[in-house]
């Protein structure tokens, strides 16, 4: 275990990994000077010989709302795993902005740098109240010891209350999240993402299990978030994708098959072959 690890974990000093004198590092700042927030280059991930991602290349512009579609096993979830640090690529590079190498960071560090993620299956802290879930997600000092003495300030309380209202859980603040409906949990998880205030949101099937009405409200919310945030949405629901109206990337067998707006993609013969041909 290195001194750096100990200092980071115990007294919360982050040392610059490249500084021979071990001086504290500045907070990682996201550099989007080329207007690109995420670069994935030649990413390959294989599980026991099966290539989940095969030289995947993908760039997301800052403020963009991108939809990703593709048949099962196309590598959509694995792509998100790579970006969030859950899976390390066998080869290839993943950069967040111009300067943050995602391969060198842990999941928590990537979250700190500004990547938020929503799972395919809604994952919330079931034993915590809806309020508590948002509180834990809120941007704050998230190291172990500072959290011992952390207290909620009034403006933070208000921010949580606003978000609860926004996601339609204003009346459920004190309910344990485990007792919420499936759709409510989806919304709660989206609310947690908002509290985290990430620069890049990865959303894996965010409207699964929602009513049509809820789906359309979600689409509105996402469209309103784009610009300030960048969003990557994986979905199967074509109506939802249409409502989002962003660029669409089609993944197939771990690589990009096609990219463009909805009409272009729907008319692409390779896409039709993949979805209908077999």
């Amino acid at each position: 275990m290195s001194v750096r690890d100990v200092l980071r974990g115990i007294i919360g000093i982050e040392l610059d990994e490249n500084d021979p004198f071990g001086r504290p590092a500045r907070r990682r700042t996201l550099d989007i000077s080329h207007n690109v927030i995420l670069y994935l280059e030649d990413i390959t991930v294989s599980f026991d010989g099966f290539k989940a991602l095969n030289k995947l290349n993908l760039t997301i512009d800052a403020g963009e709302l991108r939809c990703i579609i593709g048949p099962n096993g196309a590598g959509k979830t694995t792509m998100m795993d790579v970006v969030t640090g859950k899976t390390r690529p066998d080869s290839g590079t993943a950069f967040f902005g111009q300067s943050i190498d995602l391969a060198s960071l842990t999941e928590a560090q990537i979250a700190h740098a500004g990547v938020g993620r929503k799972f395919q299956k809604p994952t919330v802290f079931e034993r915590h109240s809806a309020f508590g879930n948002l509180e834990l997600a809120m941007t704050a000092d998230k190291r172990a010891l500072p959290s011992l003495v952390a207290r909620l300030r009034d403006e933070e309380r208000d921010r949580i209350a606003d978000t609860l209202r926004l996601i339609g859980l204003g009346g459920e603040a004190d309910r344990p999240a485990g007792l919420l409906s499936h759709g409510q949990k989806q919304w709660l998880e989206i609310g947690m993402l908002l509290m985290q205030d990430p620069r890049l949101l990865l959303l894996d099937e965010p409207v699964a299990g929602m009513t049509d009405d809820e789906t359309m409200r979600t689409a509105e919310l996402f469209v309103s978030l784009a610009g300030k945030h960048s969003l990557v949405v994986v979905e199967h629901d074509m109506a939802f994708i249409e409502a989002l109206g962003g660029r669409i990337t089609v993944l197939h067998e771990g690589a990009v098959l096609a990219e463009g707006d909805l009409a272009a993609v729907q008319n692409d013969p390779r896409v039709i072959e993949v979805y209908l041909g077999r």
């Binding site: 275990m1 928590a108 979250a111 190291r143 010891l145 011992l148």
Partner: protein, 370 residues
């Protein structure tokens, strides 16, 4: 709309309960022990004082175990190791307090004379000082837990794997302490203590003082852990228990949250061990046996995980039952203990505390598997 401000550490009833406990331990028991002569109906015997003191040490361990298992979802089958480390560290001081009153009339502890050692090993340096020994009984288990925990949590060992590796850890330590060459008295460990801080260790006054200190330590441990689990830290800890990857992806590094709880838990065990040794008068490697460590888990399970008060009650219930069984029906104790493990896990997943609370909370959140 607003969530109420953080609840006070204890509500009125709990404050009263704590007051009654401290009054009983610091005033009632000493008074009954000293004022009434042996044989009197109201006399509290030395045996009872020692037994209750011992069980209070176990209750501290139960609180420590509840922190890591009940709130952290990490089942340790090696907490006996930290308990014993604390006990051995303080036992070194007690051995030095024997001075030249041992059977060999030597400055060295008897077992070293027996092994024909001429000097104290280096790690015994300073053990004649009470404060050093007390510090060591906290630092040794904390350091052991920190180093082991760092490596285990960093490589993301979880669930049953973590449990069986902690089991192997305490097993290895037990083998190590069984060796005479390790310098901790081998099989026999430390015993035949004479004094603590210069006072005779078996006198009623010393016993009662130790008893009172233990009661205070139990109350403080309880309050400290309660404060810990009610803080934001505690809520993150349970969040990591229930959905580790969610916690990671919103920016919490589970390593340090788990490691802190794990180290605090081990340290409390060390304190309990240090208080246990002067009261029971012996510490030997069997305290590190796997069976002992697993028994700790059953106190917590019987009392109810994640309630703090429950595990304390569990430690009392199981250990009182144990001392009754081992006197009256020694051959049935293991049957009883075995059945207890099974019945509690099958029928009472929330323990005694669950029985107590079940009728009042209809809309309790679903039981999450830690």
């Amino acid at each position: 709309m607003r969530e109420p401000p953080l609840p006070p550490l204890l509500d009125a009833r709990q404050r009263a309960g704590l007051g009654i406990f401290l009054a009983a331990a610091l005033i009632l028991v000493p008074a009954l022990h000293l004022v009434f002569p042996p044989g009197h109906v109201l006399h509290v015997s030395t045996y009872t004082v020692t037994l209750l003191g011992k069980i209070m040490c176990y209750a501290i361990v139960a609180v420590a175990m509840d922190l890591i298992w009940g709130y952290g979802g990490i089942l340790s089958l090696g907490h006996g190791l930290f308990f014993a480390l604390g006990g051995y560290a303080f036992g070194m001081y007690l051995m030095r307090q024997i001075g030249r009153d041992g059977s060999y009339r030597s400055e060295l502890p008897d077992f070293m004379v027996f092994l024909d050692w001429k000097d104290l090993p280096w790690y015994w340096a300073g053990s004649e000082h009470f404060l050093w020994a007390a510090a060591l009984s906290i630092a040794a288990p904390a350091l052991a837990a920190f180093v082991f925990g760092y490596f285990a949590f960093r490589s993301r060992i979880k669930g049953v794997y973590f449990s069986i590796i902690t089991q192997a850890l305490t097993y290895a330590a037990m083998l190590l302490f069984f060796r005479n060459e390790t310098g901790f008295g081998g099989n026999n460990g430390f015993t035949d203590f004479k004094r603590v801080l210069g006072y005779p260790i078996t006198s009623p006054e010393t016993r009662l003082a130790l008893f009172g200190v233990t009661a205070g330590a139990l109350a403080l441990s309880f309050l400290f852990v309660r404060w810990l689990v009610n803080s934001k830290y505690g809520r993150v800890l349970t969040a990591i228990r229930d959905a580790e990857s969610r916690a990671m992806f919103i920016g919490y590094d589970p390593l340090w949250f788990k490691l802190f709880a794990w180290t605090v838990s081990a340290t409390l065990c060390g304190v309990a061990g240090a208080l246990y040794v002067p009261q029971v008068g012996i510490i030997n490697p069997s305290e590190m046996s796997v069976a002992n460590s697993i028994e700790i888990a059953v106190w917590v399970a019987v009392g109810g995980r994640g309630t703090l008060i429950g595990p304390i009650a569990g430690a009392f219930a199981v250990n009182l039952a144990k001392s009754w069984f081992t006197v009256s029906f020694p051959e049935y104790w293991l049957f009883f203990l075995g059945l207890l493990f099974i019945v509690v896990t099958l029928r009472l997943p929330r323990g005694l505390a669950g029985l107590w609370r079940a009728p009042r909370r209809k809309d309790a959140p679903p039981e999450a598997e830690p």
